[in-house]
Symmetry: C2
Subunit: 488 residues, 2 copies
């Protein structure tokens, strides 16, 4: 792939055509590999990235202003993720293999034919990399790992925020795959907005994923769903991730909650999609004072100039609201290494103008909302749009069942006395909620279930054994878990 | 619900507002029922429909021109389907419950919190009924059954083709649910295009499904995905469902294939979304002669005037193609009870103009395509858009592996020496394929997996037992199958 090894100039339309043609050609051989073979190849990619850590981390630090320790942890998470999808492939349950034997007495009223169904890949997937996780949501991140694992070639649209890191990561991924025996075209980089848009419109692309802003994600989704052949679009967009503190929790551990909240909303300079953007606290409980007097960390440079200017604009907009005041703020709130800021408002104002006061502010700012009565918690929760996460800080004997219920209706993940930043990559993780948190509320972009986005079912009716996919043959040569006649 | 018991006039905007408000209110109590309780209620609906068969079948026959035997079978299938989703609910695997216990040594590099994830309903679902299955894809059909089973209230947009049957079926469903203890608003009818469109745009509707034509389905999908909050839209649109006959199969059982094909494409007067619309046969094998000389059934009245005029138009368009001739046709091909028609063309013409010659013709017409060489089968298969079904008629020793591979890339169901009409409702069924067969290629509208369309995951992090959904509590009070720490 010449496109990977050239400098960070945009992919030309000629280059894109070649990339698409090769990805299209790669779709069948990549899909035809046994899952365990793809698992070995993902392991090889993980090892190659681990081995290149000493080269990649400084590159990432230079381009993103993130610290070495954070980046080392993120790279470890990224390679763990590749290996975890390998485990998913070797297990085989992700294929959702189902066999119904022919049944002349099927109670539907007509004989049941022999039907065998398993999931298969969609075809080439276009992944738009994010800026805020230069490893975990970028070139070799979760979308790439899950789409490749599912058996789809991946075209990775590089984020302009870290071009050199992307080029080098892309080289490593591509050469590790090649050395492991993957077909040419299983993975390639695409650079530039124009090439990204052109790829998204191309009929050879069968699904796309994205992590980023609401306007950016929505614009891409609109392209994906208005194609002559619309395709699935998995966008992880924006989220406020509110925290609800009950009076008893504030009384029992107000200082600790304040400190942990500050650590969470300022982590990574507030540039996480799971940053808690709002904390809802009881008036008169001392929480506001705890937050005002807790030590704010120093300012840190944001990812890039666009993030910086977007942050300043959001902060100014929020601060200018007539019912919002500054609770506490470091010395340089609008500098290019902005000091963290906590704003203050009251429940009745949020209830009156939720869209304005609950807007995501990507960076080290959060809004403190004071309420007078616990009965306001549920109405406040009702005002939120779809969320990635929502948190309850409460004591075990707090009457919060209805609050938890409402938050489960609004969010993909609900936390109890923990903090939403730091999304663990696990089997039961859910990173995705109702719009605008994500464009496809039934899906996750973190955790093993992320693979489900890039598969579709095919049923084989009445087929002889030798023409069935291995997962559906009587002898079950891959030993995949299967449902047979409705029994697991 | 007054809207159910009134005559077949369109739902007014005032009525719609009441229906939406009540459905919105019903969402939480309906979702909160244990799955087995909803199963009992679906069983009650099935029994009530079975008991009303003697009343419903004549109503359906009057409004659709379909025969009593067919309608009786369809009603049986419909009530079986309701009960099958009851089985799915009692089993509980549909919840995809996953528990990850906290793990301080999780190899990601950071401790794993306690995470528990299960699927939950989306909220009120708008179902657009189809015309061609007045029971199985209408008021109490598969979309209604699966959306209700998942725990979502259903607004059912009545198809104008069978208003009286819809009203009566709606009454039966609604009163059976009410008698079984379902919350008011769990199910309601909506009538008229305008009310259907308004409901689709309403923020209280969280998903929609549709079975019908490509233009109609695409127009509704465009509304669903361009809302301020876009929602999942599950449209089952159009399909040609081609049949590929190998030379050896034609030689071994040409007459039988011809007879069975004719029975399949004329079943229900060709008004099935799985009607085989194209049969691809070897030239010089006698297949064309078998098809020409086989007995065509008599003409039958189509479902309604709109279907009839659409059919006449498609048939005239296809026949007017310079490379299409009439192979055999009954005496009244364009009457309001049109005689079946077989058209004839050749492989090279399909390869040159696939979109024209593979257009769906909803009614008793199919196209016979002659090929000269078996090597043309794969290129012909490649010309098709996404399909619900594709069929291979071959002998076990035919070299068709690549053909099957291509068809699995194009279709949701691939058949071997069987016929695509008559879709069995089973665990492994797949009724849905790449666009335009469906708007969401990863889903099915028939079979138990249809329930997956109307659910989304929520993870609970660090929660005390008493605030978790039952499916995620340690004691597993519902005995649902679960994945624990990655093990099933």
């Amino acid at each position: 792939m010449t496109a990977i090894t050239t400098a960070s100039t945009a992919t030309t339309s000629l280059e894109l055509e070649e990339i698409l043609a090769v990805a299209h050609q790669a779709a069948r051989p990549w899909a035809a590999l046994r899952p365990a073979q793809r698992a070995d190849m993902l392991d090889a990619v993980a090892s190659a990235l681990d081995e290149a850590a000493a080269e990649l981390i400084p590159l990432a630090a230079k381009e993103t202003h993130l610290g070495d320790a954070r980046l080392a942890g993120e790279l470890k998470r990224t390679t763990f993720q590749l290996r975890l999808f390998g485990r998913v492939l070797r297990d085989g349950a992700y294929l959702d293999a189902r066999i119904d034997h022919a049944d002349p007495d099927w109670p539907m009223g007509a004989p049941r034919p022999d039907l065998r169904r398993a999931l298969r890949p969609l075809g080439p997937v276009l992944v738009f990399a994010a800026s805020n996780f230069p490893f975990a949501f970028s070139v070799a991140g979760g979308d790439t790992a899950s789409a490749l694992a599912a058996g789809n070639p991946v075209l990775l649209k590089v984020h302009s925020g870290h071009p050199e890191l992307s080029a080098r990561t892309g080289q490593i991924v591509e050469s590790a795959l090649r050395a492991a025996g993957a077909p040419e075209g299983a993975f390639a980089l695409v650079r530039g907005l124009e090439a990204g848009g052109a790829a998204l419109r191309d009929p050879r692309i069968k699904a796309a994923s994205f992590t980023g802003s609401i306007p950016g994600g929505r614009a891409l989704m609109d392209i994906a769903v208005s194609r002559p052949e619309p395709i699935p679009f998995y966008g992880e967009l924006g989220s406020n991730n509110p925290v609800f503190v009950t009076p008893r929790a504030a009384a029992a551990r107000g200082t600790k909650i304040a400190e942990e909240f500050i650590a969470s909303f300022t982590l990574g300079a507030g540039q996480f999609c799971t940053k808690p953007g709002t904390i809802i606290v009881p008036a008169g409980s001392g929480m506001v004072e705890h937050l005002r007097s807790a030590a704010l960390p120093q300012g840190a440079q944001l990812l890039n100039g666009r993030i910086q200017s977007g942050y300043v604009e959001s902060l100014q907009q929020l601060s200018a609201h007539p019912h919002v005041s500054v609770l506490v703020q470091g010395p340089e709130p609008l500098s290019d290494a902005p000091s963290p800021t906590l704003l203050l408002t009251r429940a009745e104002h949020v209830l009156a103008a939720p869209r304005e006061l609950e807007a995501e502010c990507f960076g080290p700012t959060a809004v403190v909302v004071e309420y007078d009565d616990e009965s306001q918690l549920v109405p406040l929760a009702q005002t939120f749009e779809g969320q990635l996460a929502a948190t309850v800080q409460a004591q075990d004997d707090c009457p919060v069942a209805e609050l938890v219920q409402v938050l489960a209706e609004k969010a993909g993940r609900v936390l109890w006395n923990q903090w939403s930043t730091g999304v663990s990559v696990t089997y039961a993780q859910q990173h995705g909620g109702p719009y605008p948190a994500t464009t496809a509320p039934g899906t996750t972009s973190v955790g093993t279930a992320a693979i489900e986005r890039f598969l579709r079912p095919v049923a084989f009716q009445g087929f002889p054994q030798h023409l069935l996919p291995e997962a559906l043959q009587d002898s079950n040569p891959l030993s995949v878990p299967r449902m047979v006649n409705g029994q697991r």
